[in-house]
């Protein structure tokens, strides 16, 4: 493992080649984002991490050092995961799992698993820019200003996107009667 300062030093200096040690270092950030967006237990975490790393290598020549390499890598991973969730295949999987809910015999009244499923369904339904904004907010931890800068959109547009995205998220949570108590809480 490289020391954590390695990434910062690379960002502060001239943007060089994406070396194997740097790729390995950035891989930890990529893996974290993939797990957050897909769910840690998702069987496709490995595949998506590898695809994100590949996308990072391909996109590296476009990296101008305006943000840290870790941020650049996280952003690519988040986008790749959103694309994946929005794909038809994953949507069908999520719907198939929903069928399990109809009788509710194997599901708990309330759990993080249910919230993650609501999250995935919302991401699959949202327009791409709203899906990206809410992922930047919830997973990458951006401020509104950061999202606006990142997407080259006015602050009010970002606020609007997040408001609409949250409406969809809330609707997906509301679809599950066992999460109703969460919605009633302040």
């Amino acid at each position: 493992m490289l020391p954590t300062s390695h990434v910062a030093e690379t960002a502060a200096g001239a943007v060089g080649a994406l070396t194997a040690p740097l790729l390995r270092e950035l891989g930890a950030s990529v893996l974290r984002v993939v797990r957050q967006v897909l769910g840690a237990a998702d069987p496709e975490v490995e595949d998506l991490t590898q695809e994100s790393l590949k996308a990072l290598v391909l996109a590296w020549p476009a990296f101008r050092g305006e943000c840290s390499p870790a941020h650049f890598a996280r952003r690519i991973a988040a986008q790749r995961c959103i694309d994946h969730i929005r794909s038809k295949r994953v949507r069908q999987t999520a719907l198939g799992q929903l069928a399990l809910d109809e009788t509710g015999e194997a599901m708990p009244p309330r759990s993080s698993t249910r919230l993650r499923e609501a999250w995935r369904r919302a991401l699959a339904d949202l327009p791409p820019e709203q899906a990206l904004s809410v992922t930047q907010r919830y997973v990458l931890g951006y401020t509104l200003e950061e999202i606006a800068a990142e997407s080259s959109a006015p602050l009010n547009t970002v606020k609007s996107r997040l408001r609409l995205a949250k409406q969809v998220l809330r609707a997906r949570v509301a679809e599950d009667p066992r999460l109703a108590d969460l919605l009633e809480a302040p």
Binding site: V57, R110, E146, K166
Partner: protein, 284 residues
């Protein structure tokens, strides 16, 4: 200018003041998933190595240039694409020529051009029993029955879609026909073992076996789910613990609950796990 984004206060510890309860809980669930796990280092080493391999130019994509005249001129390369067409053309011409020769033979032997059948003289040296009259009919043959549908009818299950099988099993379960539901889930797992529907079905089938008082088979289903992994691993661990309890395997039950607590400390089942661990003999 370098700027570090995403430097807002982490949500895992403190809930965002502006967020509602469901938002905070959802963010917490997402952040929990991002935590590092044992084995990450080896996993990342492997993935980075794969990426490095994948991005290399494919070997043998361009053959080494040869020095011999025939190969070096490569005049024949554009013709390669026409090779299949040329082969088909040759075969067609050959078949046509054979057909023409056969037709000529028939017309030579048959006196009337519209005769429905012609008689051929037997070749010399062949003894043919009296009354046996080899003939070639010029009438059109009856249409042949395609073979594929009959083969397909022998294996209708292969046509099924895993999601359809899952849905049909669920319908049977809702209708109260547990035996049929079990049979359909087993069929789903047999035909499409790698499908997402089959993976989910392991938990449902496990619960059906539990309802039927067969925790051994239920346990097998839960453990198969856990071996493959999935978004319902939390539920699978809890179910596995219940199956161990039904089998009277207290130490295994305690191990399952401890695994659940270590992997999902905020799980809905965490309270239940702690209660069981405190009740089980030999557990702290």
């Amino acid at each position: 200018m370098s700027r570090e984004l995403g430097r807002v206060a982490p949500i895992s510890g403190e809930v965002r003041a502006a967020g509602t309860a469901w938002e905070a809980e959802m963010q917490r669930a997402l952040l929990d998933d991002g935590q590092a796990r044992p084995g990450d280092a080896a996993l990342l080493d492997r993935l980075c190595q794969n990426v490095g391999l994948d991005l290399r130019p494919a070997p043998f994509s361009e053959p080494a240039p040869s020095t011999a005249g025939f190969s070096s001129s490569r005049w024949w390369r554009p013709l390669i694409g026409f090779a299949p067409a040329a082969a088909v053309l040759l075969l067609t011409v050959g078949a046509f020529a054979l057909g023409a020769a056969a037709s000529e033979l028939i017309h030579r032997s048959a006196p009337a051009p519209r005769a429905p059948s012609v008689t051929l003289s037997p070749p010399r040296g062949l003894a043919i029993s009296k009354g046996a009259r080899p003939s070639i009919s010029s009438e059109p043959l009856p249409p042949t029955t395609p073979l594929a549908p009959s083969l397909r009818s022998l294996r209708p299950a292969v046509q099924d879609d895993p999601e359809q099988l899952f849905a049909s099993a669920k319908r049977a379960q809702r209708a109260g026909d547990t035996a049929l539901a079990i049979s359909r889930f087993q069929r789903l797992q047999g035909l499409f073992p790698q499908s997402a529907a089959a993976q989910v079905s392991r938990l449902v089938l496990g619960s059906l076996w539990m309802q039927r008082g067969d925790p051994t088979r239920a346990l097998e289903q839960y453990q198969r789910y856990l071996a493959a992994g999935g978004v319902l691993s939390e539920e699978a661990l809890s179910d596995e613990a219940h199956a161990f309890r039904a089998l009277g395997r207290a130490s295994d039950e305690a191990r399952a609950w401890r695994t659940l607590l270590s992997r999902y400390p905020r799980s809905f089942y965490a309270e239940r796990a702690r209660q069981r661990l405190s009740a089980l003999p030999g557990s702290p």
